[in-house]
Amino acid sequence: MRARISTSLAIGVLASLMPIGGVAEVGTVTTSYNISGLPGLVDLPTAEVAPDGEFVLSFGSFGPHARGAMTFQATPRITASFRYTKMRDFGGGGAYDYFDRSFDVRFRLLNESKYLPAVSVGLNDFIGTGVYSSEYVVATKSFLDNRLRVTGGLGWGRLGSRDPIGSLSGVRPPWDYGEGGTLSASQWFKGDFAPFGGLSYQVNDKLTFKAEYSSDAYLRESEVGIVELNSPLNFMVDYKWSQTTNLSLFYLYGDMIGGQLTFSFNPKRPASRTGFEAAPLPVKPRAATGWDKEWINDASNKSDLQKILADAFAKDGQRLQGMALTSTDVEIQIQNKKYNSPAQAVGRAARLLTRVMPPSVGVFRITLVDNGVPMSTVVARRSDIEALEHSSANEIFERAQIVEANASNDEMVLTPGEYPKFSWAITPYAELSLFDPDNPIRSEFGIRASAKYEITPGFVLSGAVAQSIWGDVGVGEASPSLLQPVRSHRLIYARDGDPAIEHLTASWYTRLGKNMYGRVTAGYLEPMFGGVSAEVLWKPVDSRLALGAEVNWVKQRDYNQLFGFQDYSVATGHLSAYYDLGSGFGATVHAGRYLVGDWGATFALDRKFDNGWEVGAFATFTDVSAEQFGEGSFDKGIHVTIPLEWALGQPSRGKSVTKIHSLSRDGGARLDVDGRLYDWVSDGHGDALASRWGKFWR
């Protein structure tokens, strides 16, 4: 008998997570970018920002330069950018092509006011080899209803190389970048500084003209002879082709012409219009009569109801894993296979229950299950579901409760036919490998076959085989490494794995008790390693903090990615902490032993949007020295997660996860095992429910 309604959760905690409006905007916003891919003039920066959360990809070419950049407006004030540049015949004094990566960051110090300009400060190429190293302070003032913007600033480093007007702390110290990848802080704002400035004029919604005086003398490029500076003036025409696409043409330094394409995305502005999924079946109110409880005495009624409900869920793209029914109270375990918002899955489940359950069942307990494991339960009175169907989603949020799911409910009856369950898929795949110096864009296309056999809730056999059809990812030489090549032989894996068993595993997922989750995975865990992996996670349903521990024993797989192994084996594992910092930011630390046996920690900071968009950066520091690690000194990179529902406009739990390592090397490399607990448990907990509650009635 489970008629009791749990009150274990302080709704106030979750209520405080409910969105109450956007982040404060800071003004002087633009969607017109410079040739570095940041909001700006032509080659130079302005104090402008992009709209909060804007994620921009830009591709351009001018003279001997080709560039690709990725820029993110991380907060309303902070703009961060990663850029890749190819300079033809710049390397070795003109002997070969040169490839450069740089990170830029800009911070809005002062917002524009009636009489004062916006002021920003920025660092260009502040980690790495420093070809573009420069710093600046810049001010921008708007006129004519924001159509005209006037910018002036002072630059150091590269941006102080033409006609400097003074210097700070004498001569700029030289920068010994070693293996690269370290902060050039000793140089910042030192040495000569020079003024720059310019204008941008927005003719209409589509067209913007820009002109600037540059303080960058392109000294090194002129020395090598790939650029000839005839003038400090640059000009650009920027045309907004569509909401997401800008096309700009420019004339630089009286010497180079160029063009750039810019694609801007915003997590807050879905790429496709959403909401076309079929309307839910509405709530069916109870009749005034027929409320007796006699029906429970006939056991066949229960199984009939479960069958009807299971069919209804299957039609809605969900799975009814189990049901526990009394005459007054029902708990269902549902696997949401379709909706990005768990609240939408729950809201649809609640409406289906009103159409199936006898009138005496007055309490709905809807439990979200993933990988067979119950996570959280939304408890709602049937009368509230009936009364609030046409009201604002906030109202049912205030009445419902979100509690930790019961780890084991003796009354729970598995839906007949749900287990064992076999599923399979054959899909095309495409893989992109970027920024190899010999060939900056490599790609591969092929076919992947995958299959999954769920034996009981939480016990899954799974495998995937990929066969490439065309590609050049595996062409060339693998990089030399001073360490065991746990990642740097990726190219050989790509070349020899044809077909490749990407993974072939047996996994077991379970609840280990209150707030505790567990996983054991064994087999061919990932393309390069096989072995055993075990993990526990502590995560209360409404907590900002989660803690995890993982241990693995793994052996390196053969290059052909079939069943054999190489000699190298290692025990690796981490203690992890996940913390929600609030305001849409999350921090993660993994500390422990990595694949070459090195000890250290990975730090990650992510901006998280409530629809599942995540953009973040990570860095790993281990006891592998910079010399042993090789170029880049340590592992670092960028991580972008894009929910497919945002991108494609159809309901989906799928997401595209892209992790870009600035250099994929052997130090600080983590095992890449599927089904890590936090990734999916957090999607079934209070925060995910609360932050996507707006779709409860969708």
């Binding site: 070795g92 959403t274 170029e631 497919l644």
Partner: protein
Amino acid sequence: MSNDMKFSVMARPMRMLIAGVVLSLAACGSDKQTTQLPKVAGEFIKGVASNVSSRVTAKSSDDASQPSTAKADPNAAVKAALAATPGPINLVIRESNAAVLAMTPIETNAGGVTWMGAGGQSTTLKSGVIVATRGVGDDLMAADAGSARNAIVARRPASYDRVYDHLTGVGHTSKLTTKCTLSTNKSERLVIGEINSAAVVMKEDCAHPNGIKFENLYWVASSGRILKSRQWISQGVGYLIVQPLR
């Protein structure tokens, strides 16, 4: 500059995985979550391609891509709908692209009647005033239209606030509170389907300080029944015209 050589030789590829796209190979299988992306991506690419080509050839209307709706001759649609269904029936017409849906009532709860069309769209009406849509895209999630309803049904000029709930791009509820005035416009006879009745046309002008403005129209019989209406749903949808046929 002497380090350039080392840089170039040591630099290693970054890696980026994009789950299966671009190939026109059809995805298949029982695992819907896995096969969804390639399928949808294929459709998406087709959509982009046709959008680009239509942009090049002519200025296209964004509304042309709305799914599950059909442009049709209204009279033919009326006859077909009446013939197909014996009970109550509403034609719901999207004003921006004249797409027509026939909807029938499937449930009454909490004072609202939910009408559903064959394409999976629904509208929920309270006394003829739309309080929710689903499956139309950029849906009206909920509406607080109590005072509006009372005045419209009574054919009485009035001023009041109306509150509309929509979803933002990240899926949050956003509330739009508009100031509205209801006035009597004119009287006319309405003849369509099995309806043949005198009606007073009530005009409802609503506006929000942020610049959103719209004008709803209701043809109200002396019984208080709304015989036809033009109602604003959201910025994405614009207006829906609701035409009962019985």
